[in-house]
Amino acid sequence: MNEASLHTISLDEIEALAVGAWILGTGGGGSPYLGLLNLRRLYAEGHDVQMMSPLDLADDDWVAVVSNMGAPLVGQERLADSRSIARAVRMQEEINDIAFRAVMSVEIGGGNGMQALMAAAHLGIPVVDADCMGRAFPEAQMTSVAIGDLRPYPCTLYDPRGIEAVVTKVPSWKWMERASRKICVEMGSIASTSKAPRTGREVKDWGIHFTTTKAIRIGRAVDAANRKHEDPIAALLAAEGGKKLFTGKIVDVARRTTEGFLRGSAIVEGSDADRGHRLKLSFQNEWIVAWRDREPIAMSPDLICVLDSVKGHGIGTETVRYGQRVTIVALPAPAVLTTPRGLEFVGPRAFGYDLDFRSLFSPAEAGA
């Protein structure tokens, strides 16, 4: 492949990315708005971000994998600062004595879909058009690189007060989740993190490819339909081979915090073609299972997206509210997540539901 095939991401594409990443967040990951503001500012200052294909990585290139970890509520008061995520990446370079070729997000969904671009703008390296989830998930071990059994350490965590922490070694991804979560809570339940560095070979083998362009494509389809006063959700489904599951209004939201997660359910009362039916959405940070009149009709890792029926924008599990008019759609999951081993990490049983995964999509319809 051509080493020089770098694409400069335009600000228009970043605006679309913010819309698409929120939809791919499947209810989690927080709103990308603050990341968008950071990038508007960086672009106004003359920065720009290059994007490269994962296939153009050399086997021995090093790739940084970044995310902002913590509670969305804290993120509303300690606003995302592009320099923090860049510092977490620099820490990895210092402790490992390596130089990164590029940077990617651990999850394309929600605000974390913007973090890699913020780091890239400061570090002067490209983002890789890939991530490790193809959506958003609540836990550190719910990634393609964990499914691939790649090394889970070290992880760097940064707090702008000058607190820098490293989880040097753990025996498993699950332990990485537990150890890093403790540090994050002490930092004020928010931390800029750079996960275990990946080689170019690992990204080519285990990354979920072309998810940044996918999020941009989704945002563009939705925005274009809105501008033309057409149905943005129909545009999304046409562009991504998704399926409409249900249309209605939120009539109940029950939420509770257990084991450090947001768990609960939302009930949607059907309208239009779904009048007389109810859809229950169970969630753990992200939407996990959708039950139509008690029958499970969609489940993780297929993407369950709850959208504003008018604008087609994503609605989060923390912001879903009584009375909202919503349309629930499903998008196909990346293939690596639906393998038998992938389902051990992200299938319904990984979230405590005694269900066999049944996809709404045939293998031919599945994502990359």
Partner: protein
């Protein structure tokens, strides 16, 4: 209990007198550019009726004056923005998401200092006292007369904002200061935006409220003055002077609250047909349903409590085009009484169509008599189609619901609409917004994170805080009711952390009961 409600709109100033919940008299007068004389004329016209020339307990004014100032970029002053929360959030300074023209008008100087709190109430950083003193001196030297102070997590712990206020009061006493925690919820950027807008309206608020007071004094009425705020409840005039942003949505809210009062319905759809637009909203428990999304005011993102309204270009003054037949969205606006056919003008308006169809009898009916029936039918069905589509968009219930039609152009609403069980028209419906002002309640809100409490205990604690705030604002405690409650466990945080937001509202206490300021 007798109260006068006044709505100062862009076109008309309406005034009503309410006695024991019933409308005694209502009048409509043109709004004047100085505001004061329009109010005075309306009050004099109201009091000319013998039934209304009585002692009143309170005057309540609803106005779009402050939101119009932001939208039209008029009468705004420069503000010193003080953000406390460094070194976090440094890349997104105050004004970072404002339209450039508005930021240019309002941004006097920006300071970003260490301090603020974390979600659990721990200090994030020690407050930078020396930095605040330097900022205060600079504000004084620059001659800035308004400042806004926003600290991280100040809705949970306001101590750094109040400490900063003390320093400014000492070193730059000429500056009026807005503290963000007094205005908003969790969400630093949106809360700070509200504080900045509020500070920018400081001088206008002082002169406007003084003009309101003058008009009332000139009319010979001796009663306390209240202004209505976004959620359909009132605030004392002194509070309104300090927090003009709290009145941003009061015009629309008052018409919905007035519709609820006049119809006796707590749950219904409402359409307010004015001269230029129709506003469609939904009443829940007697209050307008609030917007789900973040509300932008003049292009600035805020978390104000605003009613969820759909505004369409259809009103009594709407132009009627003939080929093809279309009603609106252009309107003759306040020139209706000179430009419309039935008022001797040459413009074909929705009002002329309604007169020709016999829906209403205003102006000179003979001047609309020659309109062809085909045109009348086509125009009415176009207006009906627009209302039908948008009322359905705003409905949040599947079944048929009642619709209350108010406003001067309510005659354009047909007697039947699909999805609507009944169209309700009420006496004084053309002054529904002034009625809404007259019957406005007093509210209190709490928005806080609780830990190590059961859900019920946390909600009860929040309700106690909200009720105390409502009583402080002038409510009678025994009338308080919960209007809205929302609880939200916080992902990732330990200790069953629960964010509770609750709002209570009740009747204004009788003036004989002294209300704490």
């Amino acid at each position: 209990m007798k109260r006068i409600g006044i709505d100062v709109g862009g076109t008309n100033t309406d005034a009503v007198l309410i006695s024991d919940e019933k409308v005694v008299h209502s009048v409509k007068r043109p709004t004047t550019s100085d505001v004061t004389s329009g109010i005075l004329e309306a009050l004099q016209a109201l009091r000319a009726s013998p039934a209304a020339a009585t002692h009143v307990d309170a005057v309540v004014i609803g106005t779009t004056h402050f939101i119009n100032a932001v939208v039209q970029r008029r009468h705004l002053q420069k503000v010193a923005a003080i953000r406390i929360g460094m070194p976090a959030s440094a890349s997104l300074p105050p004004f970072c998401d404002w339209p450039a023209d508005l930021a240019g008008l309002v941004n006097g100087c920006t300071f970003m200092l260490e301090g603020g709190h974390d979600y659990d109430g721990r200090p994030f950083m020690p407050l930078d006292i020396a930095g605040l003193k330097a900022a205060a001196r600079q504000i004084r030297d620059m001659g800035l007369r308004a400042a806004a102070i926003s600290a991280s997590f100040s809705p949970l712990d306001p101590s750094h904002e109040t400490a900063a206020l003390d320093i400014l009061a000492e070193l730059c006493p000429d500056a009026t200061v807005t503290l963000s925690h007094e205005l908003g919820r969790i969400g630093l950027l949106e809360r700070e935006n509200a504080a900045l807008l509020n500070a920018a309206l400081n001088d206008l608020a002082i002169t406007t409220v003084a003009a309101f007071r003058q008009a009332i004094a000139d009319s010979g009425i001796e009663a306390p003055l209240y202004l209505t705020q976004n959620d359909g409840t009132v605030m004392q005039a002194e509070i309104a002077t300090a927090f003009p942003v709290m009145s941003f949505a009061s015009g629309a809210t008052n018409s919905m609250r007035g519709a609820a009062h006049l119809s006796g319905l707590d749950d219904a759809m409402v359409v307010d047909v004015g001269g230029t637009t129709s506003d469609i909203g939904q009443l829940r428990h007697g209050f307008p349903r609030e917007a789900n999304a973040v509300v932008e005011v003049g292009g600035v993102r805020t978390l104000f409590r605003m009613p969820d309204l759909l505004s369409i270009g259809l009103g009594g003054g709407s132009h009627v085009a003939q080929n093809p037949v279309r009603v609106g969205p252009l309107s003759v606006g306040y020139r209706l009484t000179s430009d419309a056919l039935v008022f001797g003008g040459t413009q074909l308006t929705a009002t002329d169509i309604a007169v020709a169809a016999g829906l209403v009898d205003i102006g000179d009916r003979a001047r609309a008599a020659k309109l062809p029936k085909r045109l009348i039918d086509a125009a009415l069905s176009d207006a009906q189609r627009k209302l039908e589509e948008d009322i359905d968009r705003m409905k949040t219930e599947a079944g048929d619901v009642p619709l209350v039609a108010v406003g001067g152009g309510a005659f354009l609403v047909p007697d039947r609409l699909p999805g609507i069980s009944k169209i309700i028209r009420v006496p004084h419906g053309d002054c529904a917004n002034a009625v809404g002002a007259a019957i406005a309640q007093v509210s209190g809100e709490a928005d806080q994170v609780f830990r190590e409490l059961s859900r019920d205990e946390a909600i009860a604690a929040a309700r106690g805080i909200a009720e105390d705030r409502a009583v402080e604002a002038g409510a009678e405690r025994k009338t308080l009711k919960t209007v809205d409650v929302e609880d939200m466990p916080i992902a990732y945080l330990p200790g069953n952390a629960l964010r509770v937001r609750i709002r209570v509202a009740g009747a204004l206490a009788k003036p004989s009961v002294p209300a704490a300021a």
